[in-house]
Symmetry: C2
Subunit: 318 residues, 2 copies
């Protein structure tokens, strides 16, 4: 299986020795730091057994690429550890690998090594991604300054609503809209290219994986600041907008649901023109959603500027 399906993914990286060695050798490049991240996806927890294996491969890759993007790092190499359940057949492996292969091409990353075992439990997939960034220039969560504008790429909440659709929710939406949301859940678009463009421009950055409010909370905490978000400015897709118009309570899922894999960052509002022009160059929607302030915590403000609270019953005024 390794020789047939995985070795071809490693053939362009000499240090992988065609996966005949347990270990990869990576030449250091002076002037660059290495950025490393690892994510594990468990069948039935982080993806559905009914998801197409091609999109599982891509999702495994992309959740890691999104971490690299938030650092402004360029994808370089990855290591793969596959714990495959006993009922995994060759067709599943072939499709899963096809997804990885397509994303290797799309994002310029190569397989460097890995481990393959079988498990009596659910298939458990772990990918360690290594990226490169100019020495000392990696974007961090900790650099937000008082007065910074807060920006987010793309649209928020589609991943959470896509999962809801797969679980039978949002049934009143059109087929087209439901498909859009499911596609966004299954196949995040890591903002790799734009992440690199933000080096020297963003003060702090994170990718939205745990949910907008939680991840903005991480950024604010690491920066020792507070963050205010104008809820009316949160960018929604047409499908999410329609779903929300029908059921206002979905806004909580959108703000806290996670699986967005968009970039959330802060920067000097005086440089907004340059920030927006870089996003435009990447064909990327970019929205200013709030501001960094003194103190701590994340404050969600409604149209009138009144702070609202999020909970499982939906959002409401204090």
């Amino acid at each position: 299986m390794i020789a047939r399906y995985l070795a071809p993914l490693a053939k362009e990286f000499k240090g992988a020795f065609e996966l005949t060695d347990d270990t990869a050798v990576i030449r250091s490049e002076s002037g660059f730091d290495i950025v490393a991240t690892v994510d594990t996806l468990v069948a039935g927890v982080h993806f559905l057994n009914s998801d197409p294996p091609t999109s599982i491969g891509k999702k495994l890759m992309r959740v890691n690429l999104s971490d690299l993007a938030a650092m402004g790092a360029k994808p370089h190499l990855y290591l793969l550890s596959l714990a495959l359940s006993a009922d995994t057949d060759e067709a599943w492996v072939a499709d899963f690998v096809a997804g990885l292969a397509e994303d290797q091409e799309a994002f310029g990353i190569k397989l460097a090594g890995g481990d393959t075992v079988s498990t009596p439990g659910p298939t458990t997939l772990t990918l360690t991604a290594l990226g490169q960034v100019a020495a000392g220039k990696a974007l961090l969560r900790s650099g937000a300054e008082i007065g910074d504008a807060i920006y987010v790429t793309g649209t928020i909440g589609d991943g959470a609503l896509g999962l809801a659709v797969l679980n039978g929710g949002c049934a009143s939406l059109s087929k087209h809209m439901r498909e859009h949301l499911v596609a966004r859940y299954r196949l995040p678009e890591p903002r790799v290219s734009f992440g690199g463009d933000l080096i020297g421009l963003a003060h702090a950055a994170i990718d939205v994986s745990d949910g907008l409010v939680a991840d903005l909370g991480h950024l604010a905490e690491q920066s020792g600041r507070s963050a205010s978000v104008d809820v009316a400015r949160i960018p929604l897709s047409e499908a999410a907008e329609t779903a929300c118009a029908e059921d206002r309570d979905l806004l909580t899922a959108i703000l806290t649901g996670g699986d967005d894999y968009e970039l959330l960052f802060t920067g000097d509002a005086a440089k907004e023109a340059e920030i927006l022009s870089r996003a435009k160059r990447c064909n990327l929607r970019l929205t200013r959603i709030g501001r960094i302030g003194e103190g701590e915590g994340v404050h969600i403000l409604d149209k009138e500027g009144t702070q609202v609270s999020l909970d499982e019953q939906g959002y409401r005024h204090f």
Copy 2:
């Protein structure tokens, strides 16, 4: 759990940001290559649920360190991905982490980042280890030359017999001997320091994880050579020797069972004095067990130099 148990493991490595970031930043050091390896251990497959969590943490670390040792690389950083079963309690995590912490000290490696998820299946532990080696100097599997002597560190077969003891086998051995074998199964000793000493001296190297015969086969194949082993020269512990004297068929388990994590390498027999002196400096038993030749495959020779065959019924003459 991350802040309480895992962040302390990362506190000495600044690029881990106290695990508050999903990603680690590793400063490149010019003149060094990075060696990367990943291994996954599944509960009930690669370790027993009855194994002490401290030794599970150490084993996870050490199987990876053994891969670095076989490259001659110095351990540097690791990433950890823990998929924990629902019944994992805090005491298990505390003990598991204590094992990692002890081995960080012992081997000079630090936690750089990771991911922690829960799984409906068995606990599945993945560790990605990064090491450093002088640029272009990593030991490979592919450098064995015709006429090279084949050496192995320590003793072979204890891991396989230790697993047999845990499964109720080798019952006639003394308690002390059974404990020795179980300890060797649970706690491999990666030959990290000696691996570094072999740079510039070994022509090809591998660690014995799949079993002596299989791993020597990998080395021979990657080198495009054959390997002959004198079975009487295979170094055995007192316990393994005793077990074998009672049941000659155990020799097959010893030669093919794996989980040894000793170093197997080839070198110029004319430099044997230097090779042995470096092993002595590391307090390491080292045994010359055979020779590299033309052709392909692994040939096991008995005392009379006659080739024997290994199979599940034990070993026998052709």
